[in-house]
Amino acid sequence: MATVRISLTVNGKPVVSDVEPRWPLVEFLREHLGLTGTHVGCDTSQCGACTVHVDGVALRSCTLFAVQADGCDVKTIESVSAGNELHPMQAAFHQHHALQCGFCTPGMIMSALDLVRREGYELSEETIRQNLEGNICRCTGYYNIIKAIGAGAKAMRNASAG
């Protein structure tokens, strides 16, 4: 099958690659760039484990073709921490025991960061619950994830003020 050349930025680095139009972005990220932090959960646009940011907006990378990201700025979970230092949202997930198996966590964190972008640093429990509709966790029952996102958002404000 004919390939299409795409140029994009992935986690701050320029990438040029030849892709088949039918490759989902998540397949390109995982299989071709080796960025396996983004997970394939349902692969049917429901679970949100594959959430990444494209041009600053959270999307399901199983529901976007890699060719559609041509020219875009893509950020995955691998871009979130500063070296070994966890991002405040990641640290909050750790502190609040917001993961058990951890499979959904990369998508949860990418969605949580998008939630802060949309709604700011002060997030009510109701706002967090409503905005987690697109991310499914089969372990935790969500309670600690909700606590972690609220705390992580506040920590982000403190970090940005600091």
Binding site: M1, A2, V4, E20, P21, R22, P24, D43, T44, S45, G48, T51, V57, A58, L59, R60, C62, T63, L64, F65, V67, Q68, D70, S111, D114, L115, R118, N131, E133, G134, N135
Partner: protein, 272 residues
């Protein structure tokens, strides 16, 4: 997933040409419906024409008193637009309740209407608000646009350019939601303009439709109790895992009544 050809034209004209020249080609808007459908091999277009980089399809304005929303405007953008919130707050409310945030970040009004899912939210709103769907070649009033299940008046390679809405005096949308799929089990959009009341219903039939008996009731008395007292036939309604046709016939007047209550209170609706 089956292989397909991909084009990303920069202009509407080039998009129409590509759709016209490539056999079995389909437009790609946000992809929130067609991509999952293709991945399940329920559809296999030979080519996708990506509308994502055509500036003429984006943006929200009020050029002539009507609220005009570009086809490629995302649900998130509609839900947050100050123009939409001031002209037709019920439409912002509706857009903010479609799917989940990841869908709203990408899904578009034009894509939703072209797909015309029988449980989607926008079809109910265009019917109730007497909207016009503007394509690259003509204007189609909503009553003529919604034709059947996943079926519209669009004649390929026709492309939706924008949707325009005359702002009503009052409107509200009540969505009785399937907690898993986030689609409507039943959704009712009520709009009042002067003495005219239009009621758009989604999720309950083979496609979105106007509920004429309720419109007549509400034009006689714009009163929630009048809506609640209405009895609807269930023959044209659907039965599925979420409820029987008789159940839906019971729910539609109740949701219409709640929408009228929202209209009278100056609020824009709710997800229930």
């Amino acid at each position: 997933m089956y292989a397909f050809e991909y084009r990303r034209p920069a202009t509407l004209e080039d998009a129409c040409k590509a759709l016209d020249s490539l056999a079995e080609s389909k437009p790609l808007a946000g992809g929130m419906s067609i991509v999952p459908v293709m991945r399940q091999r329920l559809a296999s277009p030979a080519a996708l024409i990506d509308l994502g980089r055509i500036d003429a399809l984006k943006g929200i304005g009020v050029p002539d008193g009507r609220l005009r929303i570009g086809a490629m405007t995302t649900h998130f953008a509609v839900s947050r637009s100050e123009l939409v919130r001031s002209k037709i707050p019920a439409l912002a409310q509706l857009a903010g309740g479609i799917g989940d945030p990841l869908v709203r970040n990408r899904g578009t009004i034009g894509g939703s209407l072209a797909h015309n899912d029988p449980a989607a939210c926008y079809p109910a709103s265009v019917l109730a608000l007497d909207a016009t769907i503007h394509t690259d070649r003509r204007d189609i009033v909503a009553d003529d646009f919604i034709v059947g299940t996943f079926s519209t008046a669009l004649a390929p390679p026709e492309i939706i350019v924008a949707v325009s809405f005359p702002p009503p005096d009052a409107a509200a949308y009540i969505k009785f939601i399937n907690a898993s799929s986030r689609f409507s089990i039943v959704g009712v959009f009520v709009a009042r303009s002067g003495g005219t009341v239009r009621v758009g219903v989604t999720g309950a039939g083979h496609h979105a439709f106007r509920c004429r008996p309720l419109e007549a009731t509400l034009m006689t008395a714009f009163d929630p109790q009048a809506a609640r007292a209405a009895r609807l036939p269930s023959d044209e309604l659907i039965s599925d895992i979420n409820g029987s046709a008789a159940f839906r016939a019971h729910v539609i007047p109740e949701l219409a009544a709640r929408a009228v209550e929202h209209c009278m209170a100056g609020t824009s609706g709710a997800i229930v």
